[in-house]
């Protein structure tokens, strides 16, 4: 699910809590144009802030239960999680 490596987790919550640093999750869809733009920017951000921020992305078509759980509407939506809890979101 991360931008740099595909890692397997039992579930989304396990992914969130497996990192001590905050996790910025990019909720996207494959054929959403602005999501492509956001992805490139987040990739650069993740690189710059490596060690203090983890960046992950979730395909909302592949994981609609997550889109539903986090009440995603516009795409992309970026949600910042700390200790497994949402602290901030930005809707694109």
């Amino acid at each position: 699910m991360t931008l740099y490596e595909k890692k397997k987790f039992k579930n989304f919550d396990e992914m969130l809590t497996s990192y001590t640093e905050p996790v910025l999750v990019d909720f996207y869809a494959v054929w959403c144009g602005p999501c492509q733009l956001m992805s490139s920017e987040l990739s650069a951000l993740g690189s710059r802030l490596s060690g203090s921020l983890k960046v992950a992305k979730v395909d909302t078509d592949a994981y609609p239960q997550l889109g539903d759980k986090y009440k995603i509407e516009g795409l992309p939506t970026c949600v910042l999680f700390k200790d497994g809890k949402e602290v901030k979101r930005l809707v694109g």
């Binding site: 869809a29 144009g33 602005p34 516009g74």
Partner: protein, 127 residues
């Protein structure tokens, strides 16, 4: 026998997708001129959106906006609010897909036409 049927079905699906991609490219080009909007300076963005619209046209029967998450895509496609051109676009020229941009938008290019072959090439490289 089952494999052959699956291959024929795939081919039919690909033909439908190609036809829808052509149709949505044509629609985009007309609507740009109709609304005096322009394409994004990066052609990847509109190409991806046009592909998304085409995919939904084939799977749902309507070009549902590909830049939103829906609880029930079929219901939304029937409802129509988010079918392209969506209500926010029609009423306020707000296209959060960045497909139809006003000229003063910082991502705006100058073009009001994108070639079908460009859309096909860009999205083909992504599939």
């Amino acid at each position: 026998m089952t494999l052959l049927r699956a291959e024929i079905k795939d081919e039919e699906h690909e033909k439908k997708l190609e036809k829808a991609l052509k149709s949505m490219t044509g629609f985009t080009n007309s609507y740009l001129k109709k609304t005096s909007t322009v394409l994004c300076s990066d052609p990847t963005i509109p190409s991806v959106v046009i592909k998304g619209l085409a995919e939904h046209k084939v799977s749902l029967g309507a070009p549902l906006c590909p830049c939103r998450f829906y609880d029930d895509k079929e219901k939304e496609a029937k409802d129509g609010y988010w079918n392209c051109p969506c209500v926010p676009m029609r009423e306020r020229k707000e296209c959060h897909c960045m497909l139809f941009l006003e000229e003063d938008n910082s991502f705006a290019g100058t073009e009001q036409n994108i070639e079908f072959e460009t859309v096909k090439k860009i999205t083909g490289e992504m599939s």
